[in-house]
Symmetry: C2
Subunit: 142 residues, 2 copies
DNA sequence: AATTAAAGATTACATTTGTAAACTAAAATT
DNA sequence: AATTTTAGTTTACAAATGTAATCTTTAATT
């Protein structure tokens, strides 16, 4: 039951590279992040170490160099983060936030079609209103 | 130019209450969070203090008691958080994450209609593909 | 073989965050 | 007026995070 701790913003940078490369050496990651974020090599090494402890990365030895791989998919990790965020915010306003996100994010034709399908389904059973859940029940004055 | 620092998860709990009540005394917030999160009164006081420093709350004295108000709207803060999150994740997969969010979140009929409108607009100019932006340009192998 | 370079491991250290106790001043009660 | 309660302020302290230097071991070069 290897628990997944939350990963921090800096750690995300490392994960994104390894997700995209499929697998990578510390040096691969260092090269890219030195360029992208101006981090020192040892900063990147620290982050890789922490991700290993958090079981987000596994390593396989190749000579005295490690080849790192991610233990969860990028999509899964992204969904988990997004879900965590929305669950911590006002349920009543989630819809409006999604509208704004869709407005400002780049989406492909396929993405849009998928979103439309889900919405059509969702529509069949959607309620008229979603209640605010910012305050524990019987405390909402009204 | 009062800069808005990011607000933490614990601080969000406080903000949500004041957003919902419109304005509140520390005692209002304490009552609710002692119940909801089992925090001690002084924990809540600390959080209110930090939110004041971050200019997320203002207070107006009423006797020796403060009435706290939020300096930004809940919707604005939510949008900012959501945007920050998505900007830090793979652009290519954002669409899929939105699909999953829409699937699992509660949305009202109105929300759904608004989402549908935005999508129809978006569709007119959407590209076939959105490129992965996890790795700085010319480094993407392929 | 001796020297240098590279990869990983260990240690460092300031800031932020979660969580709270202690202190102080004003207000309410006795 | 004296005492108790309350609201706000200050201090506390461990864990997490951002950022890195140093040390150690192994591999590559001279």
């Amino acid at each position: 039951m290897t628990e997944e701790l939350p990963i921090t913003t800096s750690e995300w940078e490392v994960m994104r590279i390894i997700w995209t490369l499929g697998e990578a050496t510390s040096n691969d990651v260092i090269q890219l992040l030195v360029k992208k974020r101006q981090w020192k090599a040892s900063t990147v090494k620290t982050l890789i170490g922490r991700l290993m402890q958090k079981n987000m990365l596994t390593a396989q030895k190749n000579g005295h160099t490690n080849l790192y791989q991610c233990t969860v998919s990028e999509k899964h990790a992204m969904e988990k983060e997004a879900t965590r965020l929305f669950k911590n915010m006002c349920a009543m306003k989630n819809g409006q936030v999604l509208v704004q996100l869709i407005n400002e994010l780049q989406l492909s034709q396929t993405d849009i079609q998928n979103l439309q399908s889900v919405l059509v389904e969702k529509q069949k059973t959607a309620p008229e209103m979603v209640a605010c859940n910012c305050i524990p029940k019987e405390e909402v004055e009204q």
